[in-house]
């Protein structure tokens, strides 16, 4: 109920805001002030967290940097606003941030009622289960979990998905709910419940802090779709296009084998597709159409690498998380990442 009221107030305020600022172009404003104001998570392993020097790093942070690189040719021209789950939407609506790149699930309500546009999906996530294989030996599927006690964080879509899943499969469960992610995990680790559930990316991050990570297995079932992506305000198509194509360009760069290391060489490539993407064709105006320079893709790749490089550095083999590409593999390599062509 409270949520409904809040949503109502937010959307009313959003509409009022849209009406007032429909004419202001975010891209022009960003160019004028000289940096992108980017909303990120206050801390989520692999997606956005400060490193030892206090710089923001992570997979979501790379999207911010890529957008800045496309506009300014410099990935460091970003100012970060750490936002909590509750704050993130008002921060975007009120214009405090230009872009929200904060592991936000693309849902219909957010896209329509709240007045946002999702500029694509940079990570296909989904809710999964982790169990202690020693305690529950023989369990290989979530469908065998009837009667189990489940540690879950309260007030999240995770809790609702859990209820839906068990109801749909006519199974019983005992939820053990906690306010904070750390508490939830600590309770699971100390054996207060049989099952721990959160988004799969979170399950991998959680394994790092378990006492005996090898005892725990992630079950194969994914019970929800959580497509995470960068979000912009509705009503500014130019900005929306730029963010959308920045993400697409990262994916296309991976398809074409353009990496941080070889991007300068690739410019001399004679493959038409690569020449087109890197703005090397005579009279190329792909960048101009987006309102940025022709070497925008070159700048993006130089700043953060292609999609695969960013993924491996922050979430995959180059990071302690060691998340497999899975669904987030290119469409021609068994995943569902698919970017429309630049032409």
């Amino acid at each position: 109920m409270r949520k409904a009221i809040l949503t109502g107030v937010l959307s009313a305020a959003a509409l009022a805001y849209m009406a007032a600022s429909a004419n202001a172009s975010t891209l022009d404003e960003v160019k004028k002030k000289g940096f992108v104001q980017c909303g990120v998570n206050t801390g989520l392993a692999g997606f956005a967290s400060p490193d030892s020097k206090g710089n923001w790093v992570g997979f979501d942070v790379d999207i911010c940097r890529a957008v800045a690189a496309a506009i300014f040719g410099d990935g460091s021209k970003v100012k970060y606003t750490p936002t909590t789950a509750k704050e993130r939407f008002t921060a975007l609506q009120s214009g405090e941030i230009d872009l929200l790149s904060r592991n936000t699930t693309w849902t219909e309500t957010r896209d329509t009622e709240l007045g946002f546009n999702f500029a694509g999906v940079n990570y296909y996530d989904g809710q999964g289960f982790m169990i202690n294989a020693k305690k529950l030996s023989g369990v290989t599927s979530a469908l065998q979990l009837s009667g189990a006690s489940v540690c879950v964080q309260t007030g999240t879509t995770t809790e609702l998905n859990l209820a839906d899943y068990f109801k749909a499969n006519h199974m019983e469960y005992h939820p053990v709910v906690f306010e904070k992610l750390e508490e939830t995990l600590a309770a699971y680790d100390s054996g207060r419940c049989d099952v721990y559930t959160t988004d799969q990316s979170g399950l991998y991050a959680s394994r790092l802090t378990l006492k005996n990570p090898d005892d725990h297995v992630v079950l194969p079932e994914i019970i929800s779709k959580e497509p995470l992506g960068p979000v912009v305000r509705q009503g500014d198509d130019q900005w929306f296009d730029l963010v959308k194509w920045t993400l697409n360009a990262m994916i296309i760069a991976e398809e074409d084998g353009i990496t941080q290391a070889n991007v300068e060489e690739m410019k001399k490539s004679d493959k038409p597709e690569i020449r087109r993407v890197l703005g090397q064709e005579q009279g190329s105006k792909y960048g101009a159409d987006l309102g940025v320079g022709e070497d925008w893709v070159v700048n993006i790749v130089k700043a953060v690498g292609n999609y695969g490089e960013s993924f491996e550095r922050n979430l995959g083999q180059g990071s302690p998380l060691k998340i497999k590409r899975g669904l987030n593999q290119l469409w021609n390599k068994g995943g569902i990442l698919y970017a429309p062509p630049i032409r």
Partner: protein
């Protein structure tokens, strides 16, 4: 000729005899303090057992088994967890605190500009210490410097943008720095505001009284989280597009308003404890309202409620951790934020970080509490028990 006086007057004290053996030594001390009754004996034994159970593992975890140096999570994780420690190892990961200490203190304040924070901190100590030591003269000037001049200097130094200092916007501030700034402003604003509100609430002028009562009751009626949340999330939506108030400023104003309302009630408690005779006495001397309050009533009232005031200060200091729910990182916030750094994610990291933060808070709060006890004893002129 002098008459002989046989009466004996002793000119020196007799040498004191040692107390009986049963009333001295360790045995006696133990008997009176630890085993004076059956209940006491049982409690003592239980207490000792509990201490024996707790202290050795605690010392072991905190110091003996702790990992003091390292560059990433492998140093604080066991082999199964992907680290270098043997199986079953458990100890504090001080390497994590060491690696992140700068962030815990300065947040993301630029490296090259951190001398400005250090300078402000040094100024603060230089001005605060003499104010706290009763013997040092010129308290008035000192207070003026600390509460009026210092905040202005600190503001320009920290924010920059003047005199060739680069501008450092507040989202980059964090850690201990935010905790101290928010609580310093909260504490130094809440006492004067609280006094004014408390006097206003007891005023005979209906408008003043109503305004003060309404303010105090409204603020006391909502939790601090709501005030902060309102200031951070809802306020921007009501302001015209493009108007932007600094988030730190909004939080500080929220905290100060909140603390003032509570402080007003503490002070009012003191005012009510002053007998009517004091008011009438002051009136009969022909003192004006200001003189009466300043010279007679408030010194007595405030002295009475020092414990209450300090409790408020300590509470406020700890309440500043709530700013982390609006995406600002005070000491606790930046410690918790760093739990999410995958480079350091281990089973030991969160506990170590929290122990560290707890220790810092304890040092500050215990310091304030000890000082208030000292002050109470000094000012205790008529109510000694």
């Amino acid at each position: 000729m002098q008459e002989h006086d046989l009466s004996f007057v002793r000119t020196e004290m007799a040498i004191a005899e040692a107390p009986p053996r049963s009333a001295q030594g360790t045995g006696h001390w133990l008997r009176t303090n630890l085993f004076s009754s059956v209940t006491d004996s049982v409690l003592t034994i239980v207490g000792v057992v509990v201490l024996i159970l707790i202290i050795p593992p605690l010392v072991d975890w905190l110091f003996l088994s702790a990992q003091w140096t390292g560059t990433d999570r492998t140093f604080c994780a066991t082999t199964v967890q992907g680290g270098i420690r043997p199986d079953g190892w458990s100890g504090a990961c001080w390497a994590f605190v060491g690696d992140k200490l700068q962030q815990f203190i300065y947040g993301r304040y630029p490296f090259s500009e951190r001398w400005r924070v250090d300078l402000v901190a040094a100024l603060f100590v230089v001005l605060l210490v003499p104010l706290l030591i009763p013997k040092v003269p010129r308290k008035g000037l000192n207070a003026l410097l600390l509460f009026i001049i210092f905040p202005i200097v600190a503001f320009f130094l920290l924010l920059g943008g003047w005199f060739g200092l680069p501008h450092v916007e507040t989202p980059l501030w964090g850690g201990m720095m935010i905790t101290l700034i928010v609580s310093f402003v909260g504490i130094s604003a809440s006492l004067p505001c609280g006094i004014i509100l408390a006097l206003g609430r007891r005023s005979r002028l209906p408008v003043v009284k109503t305004v003060c009562v309404a303010f105090i009751e409204l603020i006391r009626g909502v939790p601090l989280i709501t005030v902060l949340f309102m200031a951070s999330v809802m306020l921007p939506l009501f302001l015209p597009a493009g108007t932007y108030f600094d988030k730190l400023l909004r939080a500080i104003v929220g905290v100060a308003i909140f603390a003032s309302a509570y402080m007003a009630e503490v002070i009012r408690g003191g005012l009510q404890a002053i007998p009517k005779g004091q008011f009438e006495g002051a009136d009969s001397l022909g003192l004006t309202y200001t003189q009466k309050m300043r010279l007679v009533i408030l010194p007595q009232a405030i002295k009475l409620v020092i414990p209450g005031i300090v409790s408020e200060f300590i509470g406020l200091f700890k309440d500043t951790t709530l700013v982390s729910i609006i995406g600002m990182f005070d000491l606790l916030g930046s410690v918790q934020q760093n739990f999410h750094d995958a480079t350091w994610a281990t089973a030991q990291t969160p506990m170590t970080g929290l122990v560290f933060a707890g220790f810092i808070y304890f040092v500050f709060c215990a310091g304030m509490s000890r000082y208030s006890m000292f002050m109470e004893r000094r000012l205790d002129t008529g109510h000694k028990r």
